[in-house]
């Protein structure tokens, strides 16, 4: 049976050392480059005709655009529009990363905590900076509930601070855990199909039915987790912009 963890192994493709730091071009990096190239190709080629009545590809691109634009408008309001490029890029990167990772043999870079954490950390630092720039030190007042006795600040402020600092981690862990768990389940079920089907054909059909259902579910999760990651980014952005 195939080792379910093996698929997450990072394999260097081009070995690179810069000042003693390993910056090898890995299979994960290949998938990221492929993802970015595919997104860019999809979005530029599909809207090249700039038709007033969109064709099939152009409507697809417009669906993505409108989905994120509506999400930003509903969650952040009109001030959120200038953050559209960032949020849209984030959504497309996570979505394509999740979906391309489901192709057989492809590496899923969103199943790496490093990748999801860096994305979440960029969101977190960015949102915090926006909050401080727009509201100054007023931002800090939110770490203490309004109207609570002042003596409780010693406990409440650290708790709120830890709660705030845990945001990027829970954001990244959610995406990473969902993708990792899904791919492990798929590999294990796939192993069942092969090992049972090799003995008798009929029992192999049962895990295959499960595998098909779970594979379908994984597509749903890939879409949902990209949505959740982006929606939470929008909510945090709303928070930093409207603070009252």
């Amino acid at each position: 049976m195939a080792n379910p963890i093996e698929q997450f192994q990072i394999k260097p493709i081009v070995d690179l050392q810069v000042a003693g730091v390993n910056v090898s071009f890995t299979n994960s990096a290949v998938m990221m480059v492929v993802t970015v190239v595919l997104i860019t190709a999809f979005l530029t080629v599909s809207v090249r005709s700039r038709a007033l009545v969109p064709g099939r590809w152009q409507s697809m691109a417009e669906v993505f655009y409108e989905f994120i634009a509506n999400m930003l408008r509903d969650n952040v309001g009109s001030e959120g529009r200038k953050y559209f490029p960032f949020v849209f890029s984030l959504f497309m990167f996570v979505l394509f990363g999740n979906l391309l990772g489901l192709l057989p043999g492809a590496f899923t870079f969103t199943s790496q905590i490093v990748v999801t954490f860096v994305m979440a950390a960029v969101v977190f630092v960015g949102v915090t900076v926006i909050g401080f720039v727009r509201h100054g030190l007023h931002f800090l007042r939110f770490f203490f509930p309004h109207g609570a006795p002042l003596a409780t600040a010693v406990i409440l402020v650290p708790i709120e601070l830890i709660s705030y600092l845990s945001r990027p981690i829970s954001l990244s862990v959610r995406l990473f855990a969902n993708m990792t768990a899904g791919h492990i389940i798929l590999t294990i079920l796939g192993g069942f199909v092969v090992s049972l089907g090799a003995f008798y054909l009929v029992p192999g059909v049962i895990p295959f039915a499960f595998l098909s259902a779970v594979a379908l579910l994984e597509f749903g999760i890939a879409l949902l987790q990209a949505y959740v990651f982006t929606a939470l980014t929008c909510i945090y952005l709303h928070d930093a912009i409207h603070m009252h």
């Binding site: 939110f142 650290p158 708790i159 709120e160 709660s163 845990s166 855990a177």
Partner: protein, 116 residues
């Protein structure tokens, strides 16, 4: 939109546009958030709780290393992290997790309840 025999008048269009713009400026279409599936919510609460503790321990460990007070700050921040984890899980369950600080979330909740 369905085709109509007579197109809407300019005044009507103008009013509709203004209403749409008003809605956009408010940007508060968030109340009807999609109810997550049970398993997703359970997973989310578990992650929120564990992450709170982990961040607390990490902060305590870091401060201990820096100040040389091992292990006291880690113990203190483990407890604080546990409290933060419980609060995170509570806020996630109650949908109060969309602001910095629980006080602001509760105030917004009461305000939006008053509006409706």
């Amino acid at each position: 939109m369905a085709e109509r025999d007579n197109p809407p008048s300019l005044e009507e269009l103008d009013a509709r546009l203004r209403a749409a713009r008003e809605r956009e400026r408010a940007g508060r279409g968030r109340e009807e958030r999609v109810a997550s599936a049970g398993l997703g919510l359970a997973m989310r609460l578990a992650v929120e709780f564990v992450v709170g503790i982990a961040v607390g321990v990490a902060i305590g460990w870091g401060l201990d290393r820096w100040l040389g007070t091992r292990p006291w700050l880690m113990v203190l921040f483990l407890l604080l992290g546990g409290a933060a984890g419980v609060m995170n899980a509570y806020r996630a369950a109650r949908g109060l997790d969309d602001t910095v600080g629980i006080g602001a979330a509760q105030r917004r909740r009461t305000r939006s309840e008053k509006d409706n």
